[in-house]
Amino acid sequence: MAWFLLVRLLQTIPVILAIASLNFLLLHMAPGDAADIIVGTSGHGSAEAAEELRRSYGLDKPLFQQFFVYIGHLLRFDLGVSIIQGRPVAELIAERIGATLILMLSSITIAVVVGVPLGIFASLRYRTVTDTVLTVLALVVYATPQFWLGLMLIVFFSITLGILPSGGMRSIGVELDGLRSVIDVAKHLILPALTLGLFYVAVYTRLMRASMLDVMTLDYITTARAKGASELRAAFVHAARNALLPVVTVIGVQVGHLLGGSILVETVFGWPGLGRLVLDALLQRDLNLLLGILFVSSIVVVATNLLVDVIYGFLDPRLVQE
């Protein structure tokens, strides 16, 4: 296992560098830059002011020179300073990453805790009304736009029932600490986490159902039944572990999607995470901030997939031995 981990770890370094290089090149292809935004939105800018800004931020240098400066800083883990906000990128990310990670982890937890058992349950009720209802429900949730779902949840729980806040991460104008602060954040977290998580509940329900249906037909399950195991024991103790393998793989892949999906959810709910920060940075052409966020995001995604490989190794030790 140690050797397996080391090999996977070494493989991530060129992957992250390649992603960082691609991000740099793609972002520089977009027309306009931060100087255009700063001068343009000041209401009385001039071409000379824009050029002066470009000189001071090194945006007037040839692209290949900017690229090598960027890579050099990256290797020293120096993410630079935000052109628009004038603050270290690392500081801006640190302020927001916690909120995004809370949202992502909550969404994944909801998705796994609800989706996986529902998938197993649907497989055990294969070709019954229950199975059909669950499958159709999963399809409807899967097809529902997250933006609309979020707004509908707000309308129902915030306005109609009045039991949950409509947005933000904390209550305004109220100083809370300790457990009361945790509860306040938790109340604000419910709707955005549900909005982001329900889509993956649908995905994992259908995936787990399909995977279970495959595994339950294997010989060793027949053997388990022949040895006196109940249907539930055969499903949860013997089949589920193997049926989980595709679901674990998909969780790793979908962390990247969750980061992207969080942009939409954070916008609807005013959740102060990285998603909103990256959208603002993109619209303002704040290249340093944008590249910094993309770099950190790529590390999160790669690290998650590494974790998925480790979990895979525990679920199926044969993969590690290979």
């Binding site: 977009a30 027309p31 306009g32 830059d33 931060a34 255009d36 935004i37 001068v39 343009g40 939105t41 209401g43 009385h44 800018g45 001039s46 071409a47 000379e48 824009a50 050029e51 707004l151 707000i154 309308v155 915030s158 306005i159 009045g162 806040p165 409509s166 947005g167 933000g168 305004i172 104008g173 916008t267 609807v268 709910f269 005013g270 102060p272 909103r276 959208l279 993109l282 619209l283 303002q284 052409r285």
Partner: protein
């Protein structure tokens, strides 16, 4: 004073989310068109909320279509007049802006009592006459019914501008002008329009402010034709008389003479249409009725709010 102990600025990027937060009482104020107009209409029915367009008179936002005058059909004033006649300003206001606005007529908004020229003629809506004008300008329709093609950009400030672009495209199609609409984010739009000058027509708006020398001179004088200078004379408009009048008005101390200079400027621009005036916008604020004293002057939402207070 100040009466308030604290003011919290909450950033909610989504308009619908802002409306819900205001309705729920989680926030007290959404100023200056922070809410979609459809939400303003809905929230105006609630007994707990106040809707007002007062308190922004000194800003005077003026929406228009900037036209690249440098070459092609748009250099001809008859073509610009035809385009202007194809646009029903009342419809734009009623359908896209839910009635919050007045038809645009010139560079200075009608609320500016000090400088607005009351003798200006409203810009007509007449498709038939517009078609006739284009024929006279030498742009006859081809066998496919097309006179010429234009590229349209729009100010990337929200959905209203997208709808306006769709409406303009639809209306110009009735004149045989085929419009290709290009959608850009703010940085790209600023560069395309004000640095590259790579556009035919684009919507934008400008604040008049109280004095035309501050508000509109930069759009209509030739020494503001500068690449990279955003929200200035992107059209490449040059009129020596207009330049002369603006320069004189900057130094003129007699208010009567000054008003006369700006009146002449408005008459010229209303006739030459270097931009096609569309709408005098209104800034609408919605707030919790418990909040008092917000509307204090012509720039209330930028004021110091020292006399604002909130009842229990």
């Amino acid at each position: 004073m100040p009466y308030l102990d604290q003011v919290v600025l909450k950033v909610l990027p989504d308009g619908a989310a802002r409306a819900i937060a205001l309705e729920k009482g989680e926030i007290d104020l959404v100023p200056q068109n922070g809410l979609p107009e459809a939400e303003i209409q809905r929230l105006a029915q609630l007994p707990t909320l106040q809707v007002s367009s007062a308190g922004a008179e000194a800003l005077g936002p003026n929406l228009w279509l900037e036209v690249n005058l440098r070459e092609g059909p748009l250099a001809d004033v008859r073509v610009r007049k035809a385009i202007s006649m194809a646009l029903d300003r009342s419809r734009i206001i009623d359908v896209i802006w839910y009635g919050y606005g007045k038809p645009g007529i010139g560079p200075i908004v009608s609320d500016n009592a000090n400088f607005f020229n009351k003798s200006l003629k409203p810009l007509a809506f007449d498709i038939e006459k517009a078609n006739t004008l284009l024929d006279e300008a030498g742009h006859k329709k081809g066998a496919d019914g097309v006179r010429f093609k234009l590229t349209q950009h729009y100010l990337p400030y929200g959905e209203n501008y997208v709808r306006l672009a769709e409406y303009i495209k639809q209306q110009l199609n009735k004149l045989g002008i085929v419009v290709e609409t290009k959608s850009l984010d703010l940085a790209s739009w600023l560069k395309t329009v004000y640095t590259d000058w790579d556009f035919d027509i684009t919507t934008t708006f400008s604040h008049n402010y109280s004095d035309p020398s501050i508000g509109i001179e930069r759009t209509f004088t030739s020494h503001y034709i500068k690449r990279g200078a955003s929200f200035t004379n992107s059209m490449g408009y040059r009129n020596p008389r207009v330049d002369e009048l603006f320069t004189a008005a900057r130094r003129e101390m007699d208010p009567v003479k000054r008003k006369s200079q700006f009146s002449e400027i408005q008459t010229i621009l209303n006739d030459e249409l270097p931009v096609i005036f569309l709408m005098e916008m209104q800034y609408v604020h919605v707030w919790n009725k418990k909040v008092n004293g917000l509307i204090a002057n012509g720039i209330s939402m930028y004021s110091n709010w020292d006399s604002v207070w909130k009842s229990e």
